[in-house]
Symmetry: C2
Subunit: 379 residues, 2 copies
């Protein structure tokens, strides 16, 4: 990527937000005090100070009623997804995902040899009647899904939020058909307006739900830290597995830094600043789309997170847009990778508005608009 | 663990070696310079500066001829073992390990639903004729092992080193029967004398071997860092897998700290100091065993690493020793967990001499000797 490339490609946080004096102070204070302790193997469940902070925060903000035994520190949501794939699926078992879903999670589940099924979405998220239809079909084939993986809030790649009513309906289906709900909620804290639906874990009173979250989007991905909420027996299962027993708790060094930073009260105002920053970028991308996109192109209206999703006209293919835009130094993701059946994403693009500066977002969308017009004219 | 407990239980490095002024300086220098960069997602293969350092060191010291494309930075050997389990075994496939082997690696392979087979060891490591016999049996059942997992140097739990000749013979068998050799070589740098056999990767000229190593034993486990050496196509397979694509390179923050520390020339003298320290402890444990153990107890003579392995008389059970020693505040590992068939370790103990201070090692072995005498008398 050259310096004049505009990247709307990846879900990377704004680089200027990563290094703050407060984070620097947390590192310095830990290195000068008990650093030998945080350089050793850590407790399997994770750094206790960080768990205690999260329990307090989640109970206070998200209507949860959890205890330290319900939380495990993980090395980012990747670590959580992978452990869940390893411990909660059987080879050949069924995992249900949204269509579209996060390409890399799909990839992780594939690496665990499962069968993937998907449920289409509309503007309110996963369509429950379609999920019911899928469950009935699987049931008629005597297949019980191992789990449903969903990104309910500010969904990757679409930016859509699953409605409160649908969450309740999905919990009922999970109880009826006996599958686990895995919610990947890493964008939840990046809300641009109030009224975000409660998470699955809170709505289901902690029954049959694993809830994944991360510091990657709201603090710094390079620290490789996140957390997983589940029932005490689920958390114990993660604590008891081979990788946890061998490596100890996730990233003790950075977990202690983040615990120090959070307990000193720095994370919550930082997140508030990010909400303002990314909301402004969401507004920039939507204004630019309104200005530069030809007739026939539609897009979602994300109320938080990093992504917006484009629907292209039937005669414009995402791979062509991606290629031509790349030639003009604008990077975007074609929709194909986000579907189990890649052809389903032939006419979709994902734009990340988290990484590029506002001027670049506008310039990038301008170029995308030109490319799409040219492809429409030529098509 | 109370303050007066003596732990000979875990393979933890001496806590007083973890925090050094040089490591502290590396952290400070990075936090004040380009820290925003090391807080972002890192390159999938790992921090380039650390890879470059390792390539140079391994080629210089271990007779290897590797390029940067042969190395991946991992989040400790745990991460490497788990990726190998995920990508290089099939559910129901066969993994061969030593008897005994590292309990937590066995656990990781079990989590990947493989069938485990083991090969007995003598004072020169895995017995090659026994390996041949196993391979012939598997072959007669039309089973091809996915891989052989070995800890060839200063083995965990026994401290034994696999001889040069046997390494060559095992490479020939791997080529004949078509299985991958995975060497977990995390204790290699902690040699107490010269003449450590070359590693499998060097001996096999990089063909059909994955070599795992770690900073956990020779720098600090809390940083969660290690490296994996393999063919370019093997490394590419790890780079392309779901977890790497989702999470980016392993621990960019700590990898950059360690790269800075190593490139400033601090790691190699640090390791030399550890060799002296742990050699002294090995001497202390052996002297104490000679002094306090009753007739009929034997032990290995490790030339490096963290562990020594005891063979108890037939009428003394390791679980009883462990329990009674625990009552007297000495912690040791019973042999059972290190075997696929736990009963095979009924009369073995593993003592770690890495963590406790020399006086405590001597006091702990004294108590163990008393416990074993009492059990012998009672049995």
């Amino acid at each position: 990527m050259t310096a004049d490339t505009i990247s709307l490609l990846l879900g990377h946080p704004d680089p200027t937000t990563l290094l703050t004096p407060e984070l620097q102070a947390a590192v310095e204070s830990l290195m000068s005090a008990n650093a030998y302790r945080i350089l050793q193997y850590g407790p399997e469940q994770g750094t206790q100070g960080l768990i205690a902070y999260l329990v307090d925060k989640l109970n206070r903000e998200q209507g949860m009623a959890i205890a330290p035994g319900n939380v495990m520190i993980v090395a980012g949501s990747t670590h959580a997804c992978d452990m869940i794939g390893r411990l909660y699926t059987k080879p050949g078992g069924v995992v249900i995902v949204e269509a579209p879903s996060y390409a890399d999670s799909i990839h992780i589940f594939r690496d665990h040899h499962v069968e993937l099924c998907s449920v289409p979405m509309d503007q309110d998220g996963m369509i429950v009647t379609e999920l019911e239809r899928l469950l009935a079909r699987l049931d008629s084939e005597s297949k019980k899904p191992d789990l449903l993986y969903t990104i309910p809030t500010f969904h990757n790649p679409t930016g859509i939020t699953l409605s409160h009513e649908r969450r309740l309906a999905i919990i009922q289906l999970a109880q009826r058909y006996g599958f686990l709900i895995v919610e990947d909620d890493v964008y939840r804290d990046l809300a641009f307006e109030s009224g975000v639906p409660a998470n699955f874990y809170a709505l289901a009173h902690g029954q049959g739900v694993l809830s994944i979250n991360s510091f990657s989007k709201t603090l710094a991905p390079g620290l490789r830290l996140g957390w997983l909420v589940g029932s005490e027996s689920d958390i114990q299962r993660f604590v008891d597995c081979g990788t946890t027993q061998m490596g100890g708790g996730a990233n003790p060094f950075t977990a202690n830094i983040v615990a120090e930073y959070c307990r000193n009260g720095h994370w919550e105002p930082h997140v508030a600043g990010l909400q303002t920053l990314y909301k402004q970028r969401r507004d920039v991308v939507i204004e630019a789309l309104s200005k530069y996109m030809p007739q026939g192109v539609r897009w979602t209206h994300p109320a938080g997170g990093f992504f917006i999703w484009l629907y292209l006209p039937d005669n414009v293919f995402a791979q062509d847009v991606k290629r031509l835009a790349h030639e003009r130094k604008v990077l975007v993701a074609a929709g194909n990778g986000f579907y189990i059946n890649p052809a389903d994403g032939n006419h979709n693009l994902r734009l990340a508005f988290s990484f590029a500066r506002p001027d670049d977002i506008e310039a990038g969308v301008h170029i995308l608009g030109q490319v799409i017009r040219e492809l429409q004219a030529g098509g």
